[in-house]
C-alpha cells in the first residue's frame, strides 16, 4: 500500500504544483453527426488539470458521445480536441496512454476471474510483468476485492463489477479518468462507495476526472465545474454553487415538514410569515414550503412550535435536474428521443436525489 502511494506521488508531484491553471483537456468547436442526427453540436470547453469536471444532462444529450470522442473511440465530424496536449485523432495512441475509461457498459469478461481480467487489460498497456502484478494487487486491495481475485467476474454483484470496472481503468495509472454514468443502476450503498472512491482518487493522486451524469445531486457532490449539456450543446458551464444559485433563484429554499398534528390553522400561520412565499399541503401530515431569506428556518420552526405543532421531520429539498432544466432551458426534461432507455429494475431517479440523510450514512 505504502509503496503504491509513493509510486503515485512520484508520478504526480509535478502535476500537483501545476494544479488549477493548466488545461489538460481542450475541446474546440467539436461536432459529431450520425447521418442527420447531430449528437454533439459545436461545443467548446476545457478541463483543468486535477479537477473533477461534470457533464450533466438528460439521456441522449450527447454526454457519452463527448466521452467517446475524447477517449479516441469515435472520430469527431468537425472541430478538435486534445488530451494532455495530444490530438485525439492524429495522436490517438499517445492519448490512450494517458487515459482510463469507465463506460456505461461493463468492460469485463464474465468468464474470466477478476485477476485474469485485470491481467489481460493491463498487459495491453505494455507494462512489465512485475509492475503489472504489483499494480493489480494494489488496486484489488484498494476496492477490497482481494479475496475475490480468483473468482469469475460473472458471479459478482453489480456493485462489485463496477468497482472492477473502475480499477480496470486505473491499471495504466491514467492522468485523466473518463467516467460515463458510473453509478447508474447501483444500489445506494455502492453509489456512495464509488463516489467516495472517485473523490479520493482525485484528491490523493491528482487524477483529473471527467464524469457524466444525469443526476444533479451527483454532480453537486463531486464536481468542481459542471457543464450542462442538452441537444448536443453546452447550455451552462459553471461551478456547482453558482449553478444552484442560478437555478434556485437568489436564496430560495424548499422544505417539506412532517407534522403529527397538522391543522388548517397551522398552515395559515406559516403562510402568514413574511419569509414564506408559498405553502401547500401534501397530505394529512406533510406540508411543502417555499421560503427565502437567512432566518427563514428559524421563524418557520418558531411559529409552528408556538402553535404547539409537533414536528416529526424536516427536509430540505434540493433542486433536481428538472429544476435545472426548467430554469436554464425554460422547458421540462425531454422524456422522448432517449438513446438509452434505463432498465426497468434500475429506476434512474430512484436514488441520489434530494434526500441528504441517505448520502451520509457512514
Amino acid at each position: 500500500m505504502f509503496i503504491f502511494y509513493l509510486d503515485i506521488l512520484q508520478r504526480f508531484i509535478p502535476d500537483v504544483f501545476a494544479l488549477g491553471n493548466e488545461s489538460i483537456i481542450v475541446v474546440q468547436n467539436l461536432t459529431k453527426a450520425f447521418g442527420d442526427f447531430v449528437a454533439v453540436d459545436n461545443i467548446t470547453f476545457d478541463v483543468k488539470k486535477g479537477e473533477i469536471f461534470g457533464l450533466l444532462g438528460p439521456n441522449g444529450a450527447g454526454k457519452s458521445t463527448v466521452i467517446r470522442i475524447l477517449s479516441t473511440l469515435t472520430r469527431p465530424t468537425k472541430g478538435t480536441a486534445t488530451v494532455g496536449g495530444f490530438d485525439v485523432v492524429k495522436q490517438d495512441n499517445e492519448v490512450r496512454k494517458l487515459i482510463g475509461i469507465v463506460s456505461e457498459k461493463m468492460i469485463m469478461y464474465n468468464r474470466l476471474t477478476a485477476r485474469e481480467n485485470l491481467w489481460f487489460f493491463g498487459s495491453l498497456f505494455a507494462m512489465q510483468k512485475e509492475e503489472l502484478k504489483r499494480r493489480i494487487d494494489e488496486l484489488l486491495e484498494l476496492v477490497q476485492l482481494t479475496k475475490w481475485g480468483k473468482a469469475q467476474v460473472g458471479k459478482f454483484s453489480t456493485g462489485m463489477k463496477q468497482k472492477m470496472n473502475i480499477i480496470r481503468a486505473l491499471l495504466n495509472m491514467p492522468q485523466v479518468l473518463f467516467l460515463d454514468e458510473p453509478t447508474l443502476g447501483l444500489d445506494p450503498q455502492s453509489t456512495v462507495e464509488i463516489r467516495e472512491f472517485i473523490r479520493k482518487l482525485n484528491r490523493e493522486q491528482g487524477t483529473t476526472v471527467l464524469i457524466t451524469t444525469h443526476m444533479m445531486s451527483e454532480a453537486d457532490l463531486l464536481c468542481d465545474n459542471i457543464g450542462i449539456i442538452d441537444h448536443g450543446k453546452i447550455v451552462a458551464l459553471d461551478t456547482s454553487t453558482n449553478l444552484k444559485n442560478a437555478i434556485a433563484g437568489a436564496n430560495t429554499t424548499i422544505l417539506t415538514l412532517e407534522i403529527a398534528n397538522l391543522t388548517p390553522d397551522l398552515l395559515a400561520t406559516v403562510r402568514a410569515l413574511k419569509c414564506v412565499e408559498a405553502v401547500s399541503q401534501e397530505n394529512s401530515s406533510h406540508m411543502k414550503i417555499h421560503a427565502h431569506g437567512d432566518g427563514a428556518f428559524d421563524s418557520i420552526i418558531d411559529s409552528i412550535r408556538a402553535k404547539k405543532g409537533n414536528i416529526i421531520s424536516m427536509q430540505n429539498i434540493q433542486p433536481t435536474l428538472e429544476d435545472v432544466f426548467l430554469h436554464i432551458t425554460g422547458r421540462e426534461v425531454r422524456e422522448t428521443a432517449d438513446q438509452k432507455i434505463p432498465l426497468a429494475e434500475h429506476p434512474r431517479s430512484g436514488h441520489g436525489f434530494g434526500n441528504a440523510s441517505r448520502g451520509r450514512r457512514r
Partner: protein, 399 residues
C-alpha cells in the same frame, strides 16, 4: 518495423488467449463444440445413400413352376444361382408366398417390399426353346427398391446364361471352361482406383466436411465474436489500449482457427474410427491446407464484421452465405454433377478449392505439385480479401 510486428503478435496472442479462456470456461458451449462434428459425421455417414445401403430387402417368392417335376426343372437352377449370389451380397431376404394375390397383399401391408413370381410355364418355355420369363412385383411407392431388384435379377440371369453358354461351348469345342468363357464373353471390366483399396462415399465427403467446418468456424466465429464484444461493450476496453487495431483481428482469428482445427481433428478421428477413412497423403499438408483455407476466409469474415452492426445481423448474413457455400462447394455432392451455371458459381467459392485440394491429399495421396492450382487460388483469394478487409475494418472500428 520488426519491433512493431513483434508487439502486434504478442498483443494478438494475448487476445487469443483471452478468447480461448472464455471458450473453455463455457461448459455448454464446449460440449456443443464437440457434439457438432459428431452429429455432422453421424448424419452424413448414415443418412446419405451409398453403394451397399440397399441391404436385406424383403422379397416374397412364388414358385408356380415345377409341375413337370424332375431334374431339368429350370426354376431350381435359377433359385440356386440366386441363393449363391445372395449369400455373397446379402441383398435380398427371400420368403415364400402362396400366390400372386397373397404377394400383392403382403406388399400392400408393407410386410415385404417386392416379390418374384416364377410362372408355371417357366421350364416349359425354356425346354421348347422360348424365353423363360420371370415376373417382378414391385412396390410402386418405392422405385429405388424395384430398380435394385431388377438389377439383382438381371445379374442372376446374366450369370446363368453365361454358365449355360459356357457349358455348351466347352462341350462343342472340347476346350477348358476358362477358354470357353473367353469365347462366350470376350470383354470384361476390372475396376482399379488411383490408390489401392476400397473407397466409399465417406472418403469423398470427410475431407470436404473438415474443410467446411474449419473455414466456417472462422467465417462465422469472427463476426460473431467481434460483434458480440461490440454489443457487450468489452471491445471498447481493447480499443482504448494503445495497441494496433489489427491485433484484435489477428488475435480473434487465432482463437477461432484453434477452435476450428479442434473440430477438424475431431472429425478426422471420428471418420477414421467409425468409417475407416484414412489419410493417404501427408498429414502436415492436410493441416497446412486447413490453415490456408482459414486464411482465404478471414478477409471475408472481417469485411462482414465491419458491415454488421450487431450480432443478430452478423449471424443472419452468415447463414445466408453459409448454405449456398455448403451445397455448391462440392462438399456433399460432386461439382461435376451440377448444371454448368451452378458449376461456375462453385468455381468462385474458395471452399471448393480447399475441399478439392484436401480430398486430393487425403484420398489420392497427392503432394504439393498436384494441387498447385488450388493453392494458387486460395492464396490469391486470401491476399485480395485481406487487402480489402484491413482498411475497411480500421474505418469501421472508429466510426
Amino acid at each position: 518495423m520488426k519491433m512493431r510486428g513483434k508487439t502486434l503478435m504478442s498483443n494478438s496472442l494475448r487476445i487469443a488467449w483471452k478468447d480461448l479462456m472464455e471458450l473453455f470456461r463455457n461448459r455448454l458451449g464446449l460440449v456443443m463444440l464437440i457434439l457438432m462434428p459428431i452429429f455432422m459425421m453421424g448424419m452424413v455417414g448414415f443418412i446419405f445413400p451409398s453403394n451397399n445401403s440397399l441391404n436385406h430387402v424383403k422379397v416374397g417368392l412364388v414358385n408356380q413352376d415345377g409341375l413337370l417335376g424332375g431334374p431339368t426343372n429350370a426354376s431350381q437352377a435359377f433359385l440356386s444361382v440366386l441363393d449363391q449370389m445372395n449369400s455373397q451380397t446379402g441383398m435380398l431376404d427371400i420368403s415364400n408366398a402362396n400366390d400372386l394375390v397373397g404377394l400383392k397383399d403382403s406388399v400392400q401391408k408393407g410386410d415385404i417390399q417386392g416379390g418374384i413370381v416364377i410362372p408355371s410355364n417357366f421350364t416349359q418355355c425354356l425346354m421348347s426353346h422360348r424365353q423363360g420369363t420371370l415376373i417382378i412385383v414391385t412396390d410402386n411407392s418405392n422405385p429405388q427398391i424395384s430398380a435394385a431388384m431388377q438389377t439383382a435379377l438381371t445379374a442372376v440371369f446374366h450369370q446363368m446364361g453365361t454358365m449355360l453358354a459356357q457349358g455348351i461351348v466347352a462341350n462343342a469345342t472340347d476346350s477348358s471352361p476358362t477358354d470357353a468363357l473367353a469365347m462366350v464373353q470376350p470383354y470384361n471390366i476390372e475396376v482399379e482406383g488411383v490408390v489401392s483399396g476400397h473407397t466409399s462415399y465417406f472418403d469423398f465427403i470427410a475431407p470436404g466436411i473438415m474443410a467446411m467446418t474449419v473455414m466456417m468456424s472462422v467465417m462465422t466465429g469472427l463476426p460473431a465474436a467481434i460483434s458480440q464484444e461490440k454489443e457487450v461493450g468489452t471491445l471498447d476496453g481493447m480499443m482504448v489500449a494503445p495497441i494496433n487495431r489489427l491485433s484484435i483481428i489477428v488475435g480473434k482469428t487465432i482463437a477461432q482457427t484453434a477452435r476450428g482445427l479442434l473440430q477438424g481433428v475431431l472429425i478426422l478421428i471420428l471418420a477414421s474410427v467409425l468409417f475407416g477413412v484414412s489419410i493417404q497423403g501427408s498429414i502436415l499438408l492436410v493441416f497446412g491446407l486447413l490453415l490456408l483455407g482459414v486464411f482465404s476466409f478471414v478477409g471475408l469474415g472481417v469485411v462482414l464484421t465491419s458491415f454488421a452492426k450487431d450480432q443478430e445481423t452478423a449471424m443472419m448474413i452468415m447463414m445466408t452465405l453459409m448454405f449456398p457455400m455448403m451445397f455448391l462447394s462440392g462438399v456433399f455432392f460432386p461439382v461435376q454433377q451440377m448444371p454448368w451455371y451452378m458449376q461456375s458459381i462453385s468455381k468462385a467459392l474458395p471452399l471448393t478449392y480447399a475441399a478439392d485440394a484436401l480430398r486430393k491429399v487425403m484420398v489420392l495421396g497427392a503432394g504439393i505439385p498436384q494441387i498447385t492450382t488450388e493453392l494458387t487460388v486460395l492464396i490469391t483469394f486470401g491476399v485480395v480479401m485481406t487487402a480489402i478487409a484491413v482498411p475497411v475494418f480500421k474505418r469501421a472500428m472508429t466510426r
